[in-house]
Amino acid sequence: MNKVAIVGTGQTPVREHWELPIRHLAVEALLNALNDNNHAVTPQSIYVGNMLSGALSEQEHLGALIADYAALEGTEAVKVEAACASGGAAFRQAVYAVASGTVDSAAIVGVEKLTEMSGKNSSSALATAADADYETSLGLSFVAINALIMRRYMYEYGYEKEDFAYFPAIAHNNAQQNPNAMFHFAFDKEQYRKSKMIADPINLLDSSPIADGAAAAIVVPLEKARKMTNKYVTVEACEVGTDTLALDNRKNPIYLKAVERSTLKAINTAGMNHKNIDFFELHDAFSIITSLSLEASGFCRIGEAIKEVQTGRFNIDGQLPITTHGGLKGRGHPVGATGMYQIVEAVQQLMETAPSALQLDDASVGMAQNIGGSGATVITTLLKRTG
């Protein structure tokens, strides 16, 4: 297998892009990535990560559409879907393609257009990540499923609702410094306490906003990257773990087994241990998921993520910064694009092109983890800087 490197990234700001169709969002990010670092790459294959184009834009078949509009007529292109983990899943396919030697360069673009329909329709479409026959068709929303996890977690480990405020507070603090983020405001504990309840105990400030956006990256064999540029990041691992779609089918619904599976695989593949990881772009769709990700990834003991966050360990200047560009909560959650935003942001940290207030000192390994549904698909990527 060839070792794989990322030589370019691109993104659009995460916004409600009312004026832009899904194809323009994707092409914008893709072209930015192809021309990043002053080189022009012509990808031999394109992987599009997207969840809801069929449901919301009435547009499937994104692969060929995006290849065409990016002026890459004739290029192999295909859409990859794994709910909110579609971006990470597309990245994994591209890494495979390059590592196997089948192609010499591949582009990945994660894209989502949520504002094509009303918020209620977007929420119903998003809920298709869950079990249709035994969760959503009974009236369960995606937020409600996460609320069921959070309530049980609070019960088992003895936490209060307010204890969870630390996680979205970090996300919002970091997002303020990221021009591409959706939200640019901080909040205090009182605002958190008064925030509108969506599915008790999850309130609005626990919930990542669904929005429009696209993020892209270009991967090539390491040997080729070395010849092209001195600015690249290596993909040390990109590993997938799965679990039951329905939450109630799990032995322990408050432990994300697929997070554990994909993290352990990634760490093994990379030949690393937890101490090698300098920062963690995690999938904070809801505050409770941040806790569960940190615990099942092995960064905290079970039930203790909330104690750890209070020590400042996960702040931007802490020992293991998380959601350095705002995460899903602050940057925004353009569902199928989210996994690629995480990768792009991790690359920026490692290439030292992050916004100055967010730039970590001497970060050499970053972990990005993209979660689909309430933990049914998890893709963990380990990236390393060069030099």
């Binding site: 009236g139 329905a246 109630d248 619904p253």
Partner: protein, 133 residues
Amino acid sequence: MDIPRYWRLRNQRYKLEGSRCKACGKLFFPPRQICTKCKKREMEPYRFSGRGTIYSYTTVYQTSERFEKQLPSIFAIVKLEEDVLVTAQLADIQEWAVKIGMEVKMVVRKIYEEKQTGPIMYGYKFRPLIDVD
């Protein structure tokens, strides 16, 4: 949900019918074709008693258009007495009275009504075993 799917799910929705592995006895809801424990493909239908306790719950204030009329609604994961979890809406109870560990039993109630002229979908919900008010 349209009629073919509703009809297909009738044994689950009305009878809480799952499956039982003939080889190792493991119980499943919803039904499966292969046992996740012993990997045998010898399943038979199994009807759950419908008795259980609340494992977790949530009061929902925002939902899709189809279920909006019922807001606020309470959902729970119920641990059935056969030690299998099932997720459903709670009926005949106010939020303040719901507790983890509370005993509940399955009832068949209206899940939702498709517009004004569409079919009415029924299915399992859970209510307190002992009345609370």
